[in-house]
Symmetry: C2
Subunit: 245 residues, 2 copies
Amino acid sequence: MRRLELIAVEGLPEVRPGDDLSRMISEHAALQAGDVVVVAQKVVSKAEGRLVELSHVKAGDEAVRISARLIAKPDPRMVQVVLDESVRVLRSDRVLITETRHGYVCANSGVDHSNVGGADLVTLLPLDPDASAERLRSGLRELTGAEVGVIVSDTFGRPWRLGIVNVALGLAGLPALLDLRGTNDDAGLPLHATVLAIADDIAASAGLAMGKTARTPAVVVRGLALQGAGSGRDLIRPADEDLFR
Amino acid sequence: MRRLELIAVEGLPEVRPGDDLSRMISEHAALQAGDVVVVAQKVVSKAEGRLVELSHVKAGDEAVRISARLIAKPDPRMVQVVLDESVRVLRSDRVLITETRHGYVCANSGVDHSNVGGADLVTLLPLDPDASAERLRSGLRELTGAEVGVIVSDTFGRPWRLGIVNVALGLAGLPALLDLRGTNDDAGLPLHATVLAIADDIAASAGLAMGKTARTPAVVVRGLALQGAGSGRDLIRPADEDLFR
């Protein structure tokens, strides 16, 4: 019987800029070849020093105007950081939805101040989440000898559905999509429109074991038996295919 | 260490209208109290007889026009069925995106003809996926004595991201959302915007064990320890909160 496991990596200390996250994970998980390690963006950003002190930020007029229109009435300096991380604002009424420089469409450009350790500090998304995943993957290989896949995940909202779900920002050592077009269903008929966002399904599954706060920032997904390799960019819909551009 | 399991329910025979799906699942899985059983919409629809023979459908002018504009050039009678299941068409150029009578926004109103057993047959979504989940849940309780949660899942596309992911259409015996607003993060600061779509994360995790075709239409998710109960409707964003209406 096909059986997969989701194993929370528990007991990690608070992550600080410059920390060796591969080492921290390897010391708290017994990794095996073929495992996929899902790591929350927040701790990756912290380890990479992707932090901004709001006291060093000056909010511009647009940030002040937008802040007043948002339900949460965030610090206008936080809004300034969000704008600095974005290439396009999709919505700035009640909630702030942007497209980041990477191409993700999400709330607040992924900038966040929960679980950062101080009211004045916010985290930015990693500059290149695929590169972050690859560094973790090679670090884990070096430390444990195990060839694993790595996903850097974050929680995103969705337009037509409520609640946030875990998605894959960047990845290394596994495919992002599983393209089943050209294969047949059980009756021998071709399967249509079946490109599975497998890395997003994996990130979502890890969300179940990550728990509610930041105490479990990494989860090992065991039993997937995936082949090939992809990129977080594979999951970003090109502008010309997008329903809303 | 927190550990969850995803157990594929394998060996189910082909599901036909009128089949007792609870019995079929109970005979192929050793269920325990607290398990969440994720069942693919396709087999629920088949068991409930939510099938349409295209030879009984007459395509109207709009269906013929739309079919010609779609990449897949589907049978216009299939498009007619999609329109009959919808309350609104969001896009009918290259792909057909609709809002179903339930309120889901998805491709082709969830109408599908793969894994149905004949080129002339298509499946419709269950009339009331929450009721479908509740019937499965009470059937499983009666047959096994185990109090389980049930999710009826389907695969949906997303506007800004490529690939399809498993989501929860209907559910019984578990919450749809986990509302963490009002709780604090590890540093004692309030968690913002953290309503987790836990049922969608569970559905996505089950997608990992469902495999590529219809041979594994059910997956047991073990170890969640969820409390409360919700509805698939909890996951549908109200029209007045929607970015694109």
